[in-house]
């Protein structure tokens, strides 16, 4: 039997390899066999009219052509091409040529000559353009052939004088894509025709057709993308194009100017009509700014976007973009921003209730007013006031990028960003809030600005409010009034939208820890303490009170004088909150309070260290004492697992790490336990019960390994290999258990074979990691591989059993960062006693709102599961648009789940939970393997080997009370 098996296995492997070789060798031979082409030829000859021929060609184009017969088909087509009088048929043939030369594996150099020849006698402009397109395809397929490219470029240059715009268009495109990029090549080829592609393309910047002008600029950009350094001389040409009549031209020209400004930022250009000179990047910046008030919104968007990436521009120019001189009746007026600032600095808070408060003051010299500023003046002022929200968003993004690189600019643009919080389109508001968050490290909010920012807290859109909370988390506030204002507004928000509770608490946590000194003077007021009288103890369950406490405790962390101001109940509340909301309340050093000081060890050091140390120590203990007696090992494992789990609960920073290792140890424990079973020593049939235990263990290990692989973000290949190894062991265990319990050998064949394949694929996947796995199960197994493949299943099982027992426990290295994917369903809360009533047979929409943390690619993996009481389960794939991304590593799922059921007599609860779908094909292991070696064979592998799909529940289920009523007749 084993011999048979071995033979089969061997045959399998060797065959695959051989076939591949055959494929390679036979390819050449089959090339000339014109099976398909013959049919086409017959068809084309049969065609009586051009319309017929066109029909045949259209049909032909729908079917794919094998690599071998491409050349034949091309020959037939070309033959027909020369005979054909009708331009439309020739056009189709030309396009087919292009399609065919795209065929993977086909090298089109053999048909290039013919294609070029066809160009010679062609009269129709459309066909010419199509042929050039075909040549472009051919050219791009032959990247390592400069001479071919040179030739094609020459052909294109020849046709540049064509009178049709289409042909010129294609020529320019071809030159752009294939033109020589390295200077050296160009020099060599100069003997044939001194061709400077840049000059040729540049000559067409003045073409009479706007489409050709656009194509010329695009070709230039293409050259740039391919690595050719554009000449600075183009700059002046491009500047002229900015005044073009056509928007595509202007749009492309803006891009070209941007490219040039990045290439030559420091070179000096003269200012026309004066003899001054400025840096090129400044000049370009001014020009692009000018385009922000272009007539076409496409150009405006383009210009606004590009402004953001011009960071080398000098600050003087940059700050002009926010400049707008106001006047009224020729007298200078101050902007609202300036007035607000002045009020603030004069210490007076917004009076602004008089008519003529904004009355213009000084006279302006009429000669000095420049109504159309050439250059950057007010570009962003215009962009942010634009009619189209696309332009406004682009402008906000650009502001963000520029402000990130320039703190002084960030300070200046603040007023404008704050203004954008009142935009009419929500997207723009959201974008500006996000922008503000990104630049918050550069800025400090003035009180009046803060006031405007906080006004948005009442927005009815949850996204806006949460974005704003995020923003407040990292905002610097300048005064204690500011903090007070923020707190008051946040509490107002809390009463209006109680669902924002968590987010507001978190916001206050950061607000407190960032501004301890500003919070300090507010403490008596906030806690409403009084020097002489005792005040009533506030309600501990009031979210608003908790919010205040969160602010204060976080401030107290770095302000040791603060606790002195607390009253007795505050300390009690502290201990309570420290326990119940440990992620919001930091450990405090409260002198003289025994209750508190015991919570934190007196010799305080940064607290991550000891726990992390503890984690590593406990792990080391496990790894070091693995040669203990079985009982000891088991106990040690059990204790360590318990410790780790508790550690994970206590230390949220280490939760991922601790859980991960605990799971791994759990797997190992299960494995050891399973192997300790007595059934191994006794004849199989007698111990059916125990092996149920063993097989359950195997199953659980499998599940756990999937969890380990897919639920944690930050898992590296070093861990993946260990996980896979563990899984392999589980599978071996499964095989052994089955072998023990089933009679007959037939089913075993399949299993053994599958197992061996898995070992093999393991070896292939992780070949680089194998040296690190000395003495492990797989290491030993691979040593025995030749023996395994030759032996019978029963022997295989025996070998497996022994290796499994003897193999050592692999050390699990810990990655730098490890986070467990978690999900928390915020809505539905599951507390409602009112059932959701709906007519049976119809659907009801259930709003689901959940936060996801550390989930990679949630759009693809997160599913919603609904479990009905009758055991029916429904899996819902949320739309990609339902996922928001409020911060790095965090996602938010806001979706609607449609429920429906037949009528019930009584309301009942359904369960809603989130699942993480995985597919081992997509596994991290396979994506890490370099593509060249593996991607092709991956497809060839049978799906059963790799494609295990499954789901892991990763949120607590929430119960929803529903009641489908029978439909009324």
């Amino acid at each position: 039997m084993a011999a048979h098996l071995k033979k089969r296995v061997y045959e399998e492997f060797t065959k695959v390899v051989q076939q591949q070789h055959e494929d390679l060798s036979t390819k050449k031979l089959r090339l000339t066999k014109p099976s398909k082409s013959a049919a086409l030829h017959v068809d084309l000859c049969k065609a009586t009219s051009p319309a017929d021929a066109l029909q045949y060609l259209l049909q032909f184009a729908r079917k794919p052509v094998e690599v071998e017969s491409v050349e034949g088909v091309v020959r037939i087509l070309l033959e027909h091409y020369y005979k054909e009088n009708d331009a439309s048929v020739r056009l189709k043939i030309a396009s087919l040529l292009g399609l065919l030369s795209k065929t993977a594996g086909f090298s089109p150099d053999c048909i290039m000559d013919d294609a070029i020849n066809t160009l010679q006698n062609e009269k129709s402009h459309q066909v010419l353009a199509q042929l050039l397109d075909t040549l472009l395809v051919i050219g791009t397929k032959l990247p390592e052939n400069p001479s071919v490219r040179m030739r094609l470029v020459e052909v294109a240059c020849k046709h540049l004088t064509d009178s049709s715009h289409g042909v010129r268009n294609k020529c320019l495109q071809l030159i752009g894509c294939l033109g020589p990029v390295e200077k050296g090549v160009a020099k060599e080829a100069e003997s044939q025709a001194a061709k400077d592609v840049q000059k040729i393309i540049g000559d067409h910047f003045n073409d009479q057709d706007p489409r050709v002008r656009t194509a010329a600029i695009k070709a230039m950009l293409q050259l740039h993308e391919r690595g050719l350094k554009l000449q600075q001389a183009i700059y002046s040409q491009a500047c002229k194009l900015l005044a073009d009549d056509y928007e595509q031209v202007r749009s492309a020209a803006v891009q070209l100017i941007w490219v040039l400004s990045q290439l030559y930022p420091e070179s000096i250009v003269p200012i026309p009509s004066s003899n001054e000179e400025i840096r090129l990047v400044d000049d370009a910046f001014g020009k692009i700014c000018h385009m922000v008030s272009d007539g076409s919104w496409v150009v405006r968007v383009q210009a606004a976007k590009l402004l953001g990436s011009m960071q080398q521009v000098s600050s003087h120019f940059l700050e002009q973009t926010l400049d707008k001189k106001l006047m009224s009746d020729l007298r200078r007026k101050r902007t609202a921003h300036e007035r607000a600032k002045e009020l603030y600095s004069s210490g007076e808070f917004s009076s602004g209730r008089k008519w003529g408060d904004d009355a213009p003051k000084e006279e302006i010299d009429t000669g000095a007013v420049n109504l159309i500023e050439s250059g950057a003046c007010g570009a962003f002022v215009h962009g942010l006031e634009d009619e189209m929200y696309e332009v406004r968003i682009a402008a906000v993004e650009a502001l963000c990028m520029l402000a990130q690189s320039s703190p002084s600019f960030a300070e200046k643009c603040l007023d404008f960003l704050v203004d954008m919080f009142n935009d009419e389109i929500e997207e723009v508001r959201l974008q500006s809030i996000h922008t503000m968050r990104k630049i918050s490290h550069n800025i400090t909010l003035r009180e009046d600005q803060l006031d405007t920012v906080l006004a948005v807290l009442e927005d009815s859109s949850r996204d806006i409010r949460e974005a704003l909370h995020e923003l407040l988390c990292c905002t610097n506030v300048s005064t204690k009034e500011g903090i007070h204002l923020a707190l008051v507004e946040l509490l107002k928000n809390l009463t209006k939208y109680p669902t924002d509770r968590e987010s507001i608490w978190k916001c206050l946590k950061f607000l407190g820890s960032r501004h301890p000194t500003l919070v300090l003077p507010l403490v008596p007021e906030l806690l409403s303490t009084h020097p002489f009288f005792d005040t009533p103890e506030p309600d501990m369950d009031d979210p608003a009170y908790i919010a205040v406490l969160v602010l204060i405790f976080n401030a107290a962390k770095s302000c040791p004088t603060m606790p002195a101001l607390f009253s007795d109940h505050t300390f009690r509340h502290y201990t309570y909150l420290r326990d119940s909301l440990s992620h919001l309340v930091p450990p405090l050093r409260l002198p003289g309070r025994k209750v508190v000081s015991s919570a934190v060890s007196p010799s305080i050091t940064p607290h991550e260290d000891p726990s992390e140390q503890f984690l590593h120590q406990s792990l080391e203990r496990v790894y070091n004492f693995q040669h203990l007696d079985p009982r000891g090992i088991q106990e040690l494992l059990e204790f360590t697992i318990r410790d780790l789990q508790r550690l994970g609960e206590l230390q949220s920073e280490l939760a991922g790490m601790a859980d991960f290792t605990a799971t791994y140890l759990q797997c190992q424990l299960l494995l050891i336990k399973a192997l300790q079973e007595k059934l191994w020593n006794v004849a199989a049939p007698l111990y059916l019960k125990q092996n149920a235990l063993a097989s359950a263990a195997a199953k659980q290990i499998l599940e756990e390994t999937y969890k380990m692989e897919f639920m944690y973000s930050g898992v590296e290949s070093r861990q993946v290999v260990i996980i896979h190894h563990m899984r392999l062991q589980a599978k071996a265990l499964q095989l052994i258990v089955t072998a023990r319990t089933t009679r007959g050998v037939e089913p075993l064949f399949g299993m053994c074979e599958k197992f061996l394949q898995e070992v093999d694929s393991f070896q292939r996947c992780f070949i680089s990691e194998l040296p690190h796995m000395q003495g492990s199960f797989v290491d030993k197994l691979l040593d025995l591989m030749p023996r395994l493949v030759t032996s019978k299943p029963s022997e295989v099982v025996k070998i497996l059993q022994t290796t499994l027992r003897q193999s050592t426990f692999l050390h699990l290295p810990l990655p730098e960062q490890l986070h467990r994917a978690t999900a928390n369903i915020i809505e539905p809360t599951g507390e409602s006693d009112n059932p959701l009533r709906f007519t049976s047979g119809l659907v009801v929409a259930l709003d689901v709102d959940a936060t996801l943390e550390h989930v990679q690619d949630p759009q693809g993996t997160v599913k919603v599961q609904v479990l009905y009481p009758d055991g029916q389960a429904q899996l819902i794939h949320p739309k990609p648009a339902d996922f928001r991304n409020p911060g790095p590593g965090r996602h938010r799922l806001i979706t609607q789940v449609y429920l429906s059921h037949t009528a019930w007599t009584e309301p009942c609860q359904i369960e809603v939970r989130l699942l993480l779908a995985y597919n081992s094909n997509r596994s991290k292991a396979s994506t890490r393997i370099p593509k060249s070696t593996w991607s092709e064979s991956l497809e060839a592998l049978p799906p059963s080997e790799n494609g295990i799909e499954g789901t892991i529940p990763f949120s607590k289920p929430v119960k929803v009370y529903i009641m489908p009523k029978p439909a009324r007749r």
């Binding site: 004088t161 003045n206 073409d207 009479q208 009549d245 008030s293 007539g295 707008k324 001189k325 106001l326 006047m327 009224s328 009746d329 020729l330 007026k333 902007t335 609202a336 921003h337 602004g352 209730r353 008089k354 008519w355 003529g356 009429t366 007013v369 109504l371 159309i372 002022v381 942010l384 006031e385 634009d386 009619e387 189209m388 929200y389 404008f416 203004d419 954008m420 009142n422 935009d423 009419e424 389109i425 405007t452 006004a455 009442e458 927005d459 009815s460 859109s461 209006k496």
Partner: protein, 600 residues
């Protein structure tokens, strides 16, 4: 050189009574037909007798264009068409056509019913007048007659406001009406393509103002309203029924929606309901946001804004009321104001300019005690706010529009002379175009450089472009052909075709010229020398030496004979046809220079 004339019958160096007459390439167009709010006598309407001393207006005017529904742009229309008498077409956009009669009727009511004037137009006249109106769409080119065409562009300002391009042949004028270059809550920004008109007639209300960003003003407004409402106060916003009122409604409506506010907002009824209805209909004329979201919800279907009833003014609790008229001089807004003025929690927001003498102006200038009718003294304790929401382009906006349109001349109307002066100077300085600012009745003549289109047959065009070097797109090119002027059209045809068409026989025109050359040699030797000489110089031409002793250069014949008197002088006879004039004269001048000294 062509030219056309512009006369301002109204709005020349003045705001109000917009009426501009343009005479372009023989066509007479009247732009806007407005009334002046400052006068109650004959001066309120433009002087139409100026247009024709005696004779029917219809014969003289080719069309009338109305830019938008404000009365200073369309108020005199029924008077003009029904009482003075005009039967030609009147063009306006669809929303203008819809809303204009409502306002005219309102205007009529106030003048006739309230002020008791007679000899004013009647409701029937308004209806008859509207029957003469042709509605146009944006960017639709309307052919008024065979030569005159007009085209509307979006102008912002109010619903349905448009700028018009008037074009005859290749001469064109753009009239902006009133426009706004910054978008607001319900309308977009004015836009025009690079149409390069000969003349741009633009309003210049805010010629000397550069405005602050709209957002600040909006935010202030909302903040003030919000604060008052939160305090439990009442807010009164006196508005005119159309235009700004809708913008403020949208602003408050969206704010209420966003902030989840519950306090009621009321809008005093009347005119507005009808008008709001039209705002709902003409969604395409509004801004991007309203256009994009109207499928889910039409922004003008207000959720929070309800019709006002007199009794509501006494209701307790916060509320916001929009009431007409805008300057607090009479009507509902004044009634409500009197009720609320005593409470310092309340607030009145004046969203626009107030004429002197009105209650609005008084309270804005800080007066706290007002004398009402019957010697009552009203103490104003409520807060008074001023908030400017104007929808005209500011100086920058005007410049921006000029930059977009690239006109060859600019003419300023609808503004004050002093302010225009400044803008004029700026326009001339920055764009280097001439700028005019005529007073009423002053004629401005604009000199244009009209282009005259000439048809050319494709065959001739191809033949001619094929000769010589590749044509450079932007350079003029010389062509040969015959210009035929027939039935008011110009055609360029080849000479053969021209002959055929005119039924003329072709005449050969030959020039002959004698050139004397001192050459003592024999004739055929001279010929040979000439031949060699020419061959050496004219490398690109075919130079042949014929057996009969003559030389041809292309089709030019050169023969040499000895001079009858002086054998040492040879006479070269050069003969060429008219077509070869260029080459022929070149040859003669070449030969006149003499032959080079023969090399031994």
């Amino acid at each position: 050189l062509g030219f056309f004339a512009v006369v301002c019958a109204g709005a020349g160096q003045d705001v109000g009574r917009s009426c501009i007459l343009v005479s372009i390439a023989g066509k007479n167009v009247m732009l806007d037909c407005g009334m002046h709010m400052g006068y109650n006598d004959d001066r309120r309407f433009p002087d139409f007798s100026y247009i024709t001393q005696n004779g029917r207006l219809t014969d003289f005017l080719d069309c009338v264009i109305i830019s938008h529904f404000h009365l200073d742009h369309c108020g005199a229309l029924p008077y003009f068409s029904e009482m003075v008498g005009y039967d030609g077409p009147i063009y306006m956009t669809h929303p203008t056509k819809a809303i204009c009669p409502i306002l005219l009727e309102d205007y009529r009511k106030i003048t006739v019913d309230k002020k008791g004037e007679t000899n004013f137009f009647t409701s029937q006249m308004i209806k008859d007048c509207m029957k003469k109106v042709v509605a146009v769409h944006l960017h639709q080119t309307v052919q008024v007659d065979e030569e005159l065409e007009i085209k509307a562009y979006y102008a912002g300002h109010v619903l349905g406001a448009a700028m018009f391009q008037i074009k005859v042949g290749c001469e064109s004028v753009v009239y902006t009406g009133d426009y706004n270059m910054t978008p607001d809550r319900h309308l977009g920004a004015a836009w025009i393509d690079k149409c390069r008109p000969d003349l741009l007639i633009t309003e210049s209300t805010y010629a000397t103002t550069i405005r602050d960003s709209k957002r600040c003003r909006e935010r202030d407004f909302l903040k003030k309203v919000h604060e008052t409402v939160e305090r439990g106060g009442k807010v009164l916003i006196p508005v005119f029924a159309l235009g700004r009122a809708q913008e403020l409604c949208i602003l408050l409506e969206t704010f209420w929606e966003r902030m989840n506010l519950k306090a009621p907002i009321y809008f005093s009824t009347g005119l507005t309901e009808k008008a709001n209805h039209y705002y709902k209909l003409f969604i395409t004329w509004t801004n991007q946001k309203i256009r994009k979201t109207f499928v889910q919800r039409n922004m003008f279907e207000f959720k929070h804004i309800k019709a006002f009833d007199r009794a509501f003014a006494d209701n307790p609790g916060p509320m916001v009321v929009f009431a007409t008229p805008g300057m607090l001089h009479a009507g509902q807004s004044l009634q409500i104001f009197r009720k609320w003025a005593g409470n310092e929690k309340n607030m009145v927001i004046m969203p626009g300019y107030c004429v002197q003498g009105t209650v609005g102006h008084k309270i804005l200038s800080g007066q706290r005690k007002l004398e009402m009718e019957g010697r009552q003294i009203l103490e104003v304790k409520m807060q008074v706010e001023y908030m400017s929401f104007s929808a005209h382009a500011d100086a920058k906006g005007i410049m921006q529009l000029i930059r977009q349109a690239e006109p060859r001349n600019v003419l300023l109307v609808h503004g004050e002379a002093k302010k225009m002066e400044f803008l004029k100077q700026k326009i001339e300085q920055e764009f280097h175009v001439s700028c005019f600012m005529p007073a009423n009745g002053e004629t401005t003549t604009i000199v244009t450089n009209p282009c005259i289109p000439v048809d050319i047959s494709l065959g001739l065009l191809k033949r001619e472009t094929a000769i010589g070097p590749v044509p450079d797109a932007k350079k003029p090119k010389l062509m040969h052909g015959t210009l035929l002027m027939k039935d008011n059209s110009f055609r360029l045809v080849s000479s053969e075709q021209a002959l055929k068409e005119l039924g003329l026989a072709e005449h050969q025109l030959r020039f002959t010229c004698r050139v004397h050359i001192q050459d003592p040699r024999k004739e055929h030797e001279t010929v040979l020398r000439v031949y060699n000489h020419l061959k050496g110089i004219l490398k690109d031409y075919s130079v042949q030496h014929l057996p009969d002793g003559s030389i041809t250069v292309e089709s030019i014949l050169i023969q040499a004979t000895a001079h009858s008197e002086d054998q040492g002088t040879k006479v070269l006879l050069v003969s060429w046809t008219y077509q070869d004039e260029e080459l022929g004269s070149y040859l003669t001048s070449l030969l006149k220079k003499g032959l080079p000294q023969s090399t031994p």
